[in-house]
């Protein structure tokens, strides 16, 4: 036994035991009131000397009731505990996954057993750290799921990328078709028009496919944003101009509300514009779909103490409650078939996060929806 080992004393309410410096903090942390760590100290025979407070919550009775009883008495398979004790005797430590009987039910746990010594070397004992197995399994499942999603992302990016080749061919073929059609003689005027329309439609749909591909690839793209400083008022005004044709029929009133002073931000201009375009066109579509004649979109730019907030508030039909938790999901769309890609908000949400911000929303069916884009403010610049 060397001097670096830390004794715990009975007058602190702990059994007298020596722990290594790295274990002592774990032990003490396990004795805070709100701790979930299940700690126990066993004597050399495997009888319980001490249980940490978390055991009380788990067992539903005072831990002192179990003192002096065998730890294996808690186990569904007492032999597993005996096996673990002898493994700890041989190696100093042991690990075992075995069920405990909790209120009559068998629950899966993982146990880590560490040999410990009494301070005056007269006794041998063990420290046991117990963890609920399902907690680990849940973590594991999460990791598997995240990993699978990441893998799916990579695969779909590759597939989507491959689509570029056939699409390139289609668009060049359509272009060539149009040239041939222009040169062709002896074609009936109606046929010529019909064929021209067909080829134009091919080109149009090819373009649409390109934009879907572009959005998906933007989504999985991992390059860093290109940050520079710019005025948010200017960005908002330019973005609103892009939408001017969309808000003419039916007329939607766009009410900007910007503070008098300039608000600048260091961020990626293009990415931020992409997010704003998406939020604004969602608002426009919401109003249009409801065939409203009193459509109104408020665009509010605010400088909050630590953040910049851009609110985009529409008085459209709102998002039904059962859809609210899905709107950021990939490929989730409420637009009619062929209209929405289900990418807009999913991508915007990702982009906002990448820019250090976030998107939040509130929606009341029948009254409208408010989207909030929160962006980090450059801490050194207080304009």
């Amino acid at each position: 036994m060397n001097k670096t080992e830390c004794p715990l004393r009975e007058d602190q309410g702990f059994p007298e035991i020596c722990l290594t410096p790295s274990l002592k903090p774990v032990f003490l942390a396990g004795h805070k009131d709100d701790s979930h760590i299940l700690l126990s100290i066993l004597d050399e025979q495997g009888k319980i000397e001490h249980l940490s407070p978390a055991w009380e919550k788990l067992l539903g009775t005072s831990p002192s009731e179990f003192c002096g009883t065998f730890f294996s008495g808690l186990a569904a398979n007492p032999e597993d505990i005996a096996e673990m004790l002898s493994a700890a005797d041989a190696n100093g430590v042991a690990q075992k996954e075995t069920d405990l009987l909790i209120k009559g039910e068998s629950v899966a746990f993982s146990h880590y057993l560490i040999q410990a010594t009494g301070c005056d070397k007269d006794r041998q004992g063990y420290l046991c750290i117990t963890g609920k197995k399902s907690t680990w399994d849940e973590y594991d499942e999460d990791f598997v799921r995240i990993d699978r999603l990441a893998e799916m992302g990579r695969i779909s990016a590759a597939i989507v990328h491959e689509l570029k080749n056939p699409l390139s061919v289609i668009s060049q073929a359509a272009g060539w078709g149009k040239t041939v059609l222009r040169d062709a003689s002896g074609l009936d005027q109606n046929d010529r028009e019909e064929l021209t329309n067909v080829l134009q439609e091919v080109e149009k749909q090819t373009h649409r496919s390109w934009s879907i591909i572009q959005q998906i690839l933007d989504l999985v793209r991992e390059s860093k944003p290109d940050k520079k400083e710019f005025s948010l008022k200017e960005l908002l005004n330019t973005t609103l101009e892009y939408l001017s044709s969309e808000i003419k029929t039916p007329e939607i009133r766009v009410v900007p509300s910007f503070p008098a002073n300039e608000i600048t931000i260091r961020s990626d201009y293009t990415l931020l514009q992409q997010v704003l375009m998406n939020l604004l066109s969602n608002a426009v579509h919401a109003i249009k779909e409801a065939n409203q004649t009193d459509g109104r979109i408020d665009v509010v730019l605010e400088n909050l103490p630590t953040k910049i907030r851009i609110q985009i508030i529409d008085n459209g039909p709102g998002i039904p409650e059962h859809q609210q938790d899905k709107i950021f999901d990939l490929f989730y769309t409420t637009k009619p078939k062929g209209k929405g890609t289900g990418l807009g908000l999913a991508v915007s949400n990702r982009v906002a996060k990448r820019l250090g911000g976030s998107i939040q929303f509130e929606s009341t069916p029948g009254q409208g929806t408010a989207f909030y884009l929160l962006l980090p403010r450059d801490p050194e610049r207080q304009t």
Partner: protein, 165 residues
């Protein structure tokens, strides 16, 4: 299209159908076009004949686009290379691509901007040649007897419609 009649374009892409349509459209616009489906073929073509502009894909089996680019400009230092890639961003390209190319273009390419870029690249080539050799014309770098004969032959080929291969 008067100004494209003398522009010789070498297309390199493993997507054969794409080149089929692209070359038809370029020919229709008056360019002289040679299509090759891999780097090796392109290099072979460049050692047989002078080209003004090469349009090169990056991801190809065999010699990749960047290597092809380097070999082409080694054979014909004045040839201008336009990269036409399906990759998404400039940073996805192998290092040195930008330095070796006249311009980077990303698929999907708009046909009109492609032809415009080819014409610009051609003008750039003429300018370079004039700077290097103010008296001579567009084939100034190519003065060996052998290539003169080749040049005459290629003109005859064009005039009399002798097939390329």
């Amino acid at each position: 299209m008067k100004d494209s009649s003398e522009i010789r374009v070498l297309l390199v892409d493993d997507e054969q159908t794409l080149l089929k349509f692209l070359s038809k459209r370029l020919l229709r616009d008056g360019f002289t076009v040679k299509i090759t489906f891999c780097g090796e073929e392109a290099v072979q073509a460049a050692s047989d004949r002078i080209y003004d502009v090469a349009v090169v894909d990056i991801n190809m089996p065999g010699i990749d686009g960047l290597e092809t680019l380097k070999m082409l400009t080694e054979i014909q230092p004045d040839m201008q290379c336009v990269i036409l890639t399906g990759l998404q961003n400039p940073e996805d390209l192998p290092q040195g691509t930008e330095k070796n190319a006249y311009r980077l273009m990303f698929k999907p390419v708009d046909f009109e901007s492609l032809t415009q870029t080819i014409r610009e690249a051609h003008r750039h080539k003429l300018k370079l040649q004039k700077e290097k050799n103010p008296r001579e014309g567009s084939h100034a770098q190519d003065t060996s007897k052998d290539s003169r004969i080749k040049r005459i032959f290629s003109k005859m080929q064009k005039l009399y419609g002798i097939p390329d291969e």
